[in-house]
Amino acid sequence: MKILITPRMERCIGCHSCSLACARLVHQRLSWDMAGIRIASSGGLSTGFEARTCLACTQAPCAAACPTGAYSQRRGGGVIVRKNICIRCGECARACPVDAIYLDPTGDPFVCLHCGKCVPYCPHDCLEMKEVGGGSPAEKAEASEVAA
């Protein structure tokens, strides 16, 4: 299994290409919010940028907080989200300690699926997919199905 990591954010130029790619390719939206990775200036433009994205917790607080089981722990880190059983309660976003989950105005949650579709769009190579092991073929198939 691979997870998305952001090891070189000091190189970020704030173009938002990663967020726009996630929204476009994963969620079929034009958005810089409805995305698993969002870019914010850290204390104003003059101090650079930070990525708000899932840190791939292995004991994800968002999954623990989810009252319907729509969130489940993904092996290797992060979560798998089944939107068809999500009740839009927002508990996941409130539980996330690093503000990695975006809720749209209807309460629909957007969180990184660790699919890596954003990575090639970063012009400065800030992002990387890291192999963390684990994940059965069935789990991988499930993850990609949810992403699509």
Partner: protein
């Protein structure tokens, strides 16, 4: 959001209330430049002065904003305090995507706020917030306070003015997200006259994309062209400052109020020199992976024992020309020190630098004295220029107040018009020859980007007036369409008419894609009509003598050729606005 009309938020600053207008015309004017002119025609008061409270200040984006890379600029349209005529000024930063995600094709501000205020808009938000405590605070500091006051970090745009705009200085710009600007023709004063310190645009909306796979495929192809080929390399490598050495070598770099076009001391202010000694990092406009913004630093020793503070200052070719070569300053850190003050004051750097270059020569020649300039301005003395920038922004005496209304206005009073480097407004950093001079003098924005006159000069040895004017007119139409999309003009080599048609079709603007040529000409016509309705007459534009004294690599500028170009281009402009058949 794809729609065959424009969704426009009109905010009445007197009441703080807004209304959403649905304005038809997508297939006729596209957006951006075309939309700005259309909205000025609808809401502007051509026969009233620029600071009449009813005059609109318009911010417009285009049909492709946010949908494709480098569709990342916003067009500001307003009646200019500089010439009291219709004007456009363009900026990058985040405002284009913020407007897109606020679900607005344009924001129109009319009326006058009763007290200093900030306008805050989002897809589900409108507020006119009184901010009297920000009035008088410089651009950097007010940016910090505004960031703390409003939510949406990273997905909002903060446009604000500095003391120059508050003073209604005709050279005041609007700062866009710290490092970009609606610099030229006094947009800062247009907001200042409305008591508007800041416009905060919160991009908090999202839209479903079309189901077809064509769009993401085309996006990928365009993105590859922009990043995987070397077509944009010059913009993210040295950036526009790469021009400094090239133009100096070509004898096309204005030095010391255009007394020379080349100088051996250029090495201290070349793009290479900045990159190697002063570059801290790059930044990008939202939606652009190129990252052409180059940020250097200015540091100041404020106490003994090596106590310094520093500020981050963005630089480009034009600011380097205006505060470097034009003022005889040949050290990159000295240039950044001057730019830093210009930024704090909220002045347009090109106008301010060129105005102070004239003031320096005027003082040298005895046209004015230190009683007027208050400082011993001398080419190369950068500390005096830092102070002079403050004097100019605040209009500390009659001389600086007049100079802030335009160099020619000061020259009309004090003398020295022959050496005022003004081509419609203070010149840009290209002394390439006759075609460029005529192009900036008469171009709609008086910008080096109205058409590629500077490139024409470099490629043509002949002096055929008709051929050059035909080029300027055709190139302007093509650029007017690009700035209606609204593309960054750095991408003009990639966004050909064919590619633009593909992009428009892919997102659902089929009719517009099929009529690019006619729409381009319609936009061109509409913009000139807006300009002429506010009093522009090409015959009234004069090109100061200094421009005919210039020697470029082609030799001395040919005054007769220049006059011929100006007259013929002027006639073409009048024709453009009149032609009955130029309908979209």
């Amino acid at each position: 959001m794809i729609r065959d009309y424009f969704r426009v938020l009109i905010v009445d600053l007197a009441s703080g209330k807004g209304k959403v207008a649905y304005v038809p015309g997508r297939d006729e004017v596209a957006g951006g430049s075309g939309l700005g002119a259309l909205l000025f025609t609808k809401y502007g008061k051509a026969d009233r002065p620029w600071d009449d409270p009813e005059q609109p200040v318009i911010f417009a984006i285009g049909p492709l904003t946010g949908y494709f890379p480098l569709m990342s600029k916003t067009v500001a349209a307003f009646k200019s305090p500089y010439h009291d005529q219709y004007a456009e000024s363009h900026a990058g930063g985040r405002s284009a995507l913020a407007l897109r995600f606020a679900d607005l094709d344009a924001l129109v501000l009319t009326g006058q706020a009763p007290r200093p205020s900030a306008v805050v808009v989002g897809s589900r938000y409108l507020e006119l917030k009184e901010v009297h405590y920000l009035w008088g605070i410089d651009v950097q500091e007010s940016g910090k306070l505004l960031r703390r006051m409003f939510h949406g970090s990273g997905h909002r745009s903060i446009l604000r003015i500095g003391p120059a705009g508050e003073q209604k200085n005709a050279m005041a710009g609007i700062n866009a997200d710290t490092y970009r600007h609606f610099g030229r023709l006094g947009g800062g004063a247009a907001l200042g006259a409305k008591n508007i310190k800041a416009v905060v645009i919160i991009g908090d909306g999202s839209f479903p994309l079309m189901e077809s796979k064509d769009y993401p495929k085309l996006f990928e192809a365009v993105y590859q062209k922009l990043t995987a080929t070397d077509m944009m390399q010059k913009y993210h490598n040295l950036g526009t400052p790469g021009n400094v050495a090239v133009l100096n070598e070509l004898k096309a770099m204005p030095w010391r109020n255009l007394q020379a076009t080349t100088d051996l001391n250029v090495h201290g202010i070349t793009g290479e020199s900045f990159a190697e000694t002063a570059l801290l990092r790059n930044a990008a406009c939202a939606g652009c992976p190129v990252g052409c913004i180059h940020i250097g630093f200015s540091r100041e020793k404020f106490q003994a024992d090596y106590r310094y503070f520093y500020r981050q200052v963005s630089y480009d070719h034009e600011p380097i020309f205006a505060t470097g070569s034009m003022l005889g300053v040949t050290n990159c850190f000295a240039v950044l020190d001057i730019i830093d003050v210009v930024e704090q004051m909220g002045l347009d750097v090109m106008s301010a630098g060129v105005a102070l270059a004239w003031a320096t020569e005027a003082l040298e020649k005895g046209v004015v004295t230190e009683k007027e300039t208050l400082l011993p301005l001398k080419f190369g003395q950068h500390h005096a220029y830092q102070e002079a920038v403050r004097h100019l922004a605040y209009g500390v005496n009659d001389f600086y107040r007049l100079l802030g209304q335009g160099t020619l206005k000061a020259a009309a009073h004090y003398g020295g018009g022959d050496f005022a480097c003004v081509l419609g407004q203070e010149m840009a950093g290209y002394a390439t020859g006759e075609v460029y001079f005529a192009s900036q003098a008469l171009g709609l924005r008086h910008s080096h980007l109205d058409s590629a006159g500077y490139a024409y000069d470099q490629k043509h040895e002949d002096k055929e007036v008709e051929k050059a004017v035909d080029f300027l007119v055709a190139d302007e139409a093509s650029r007017a369409f690009l700035t209606s999309m609204v593309a960054c003009l750095f991408a003009r080599g990639i966004y050909t008419e064919e590619l633009l048609a593909e992009c428009l079709k892919a997102v659902g603007y089929g009719p517009l894609a099929d009529s690019i040529d006619a729409v381009s000409r319609n936009i061109q016509k509409l913009r000139w009509q807006a300009r002429l309705s506010t009093g522009f007459n090409p015959a009234n534009v004069s090109i100061p003598k200094r421009f005919t004294e210039v020697t470029t690599w082609k030799g001395q500028v040919d005054g007769e050729f220049l006059a011929g170009l100006k007259n013929a281009y002027g006639r073409s402009i009048l024709q453009l606005a009149r032609e009955e058949d130029r309908q979209g």
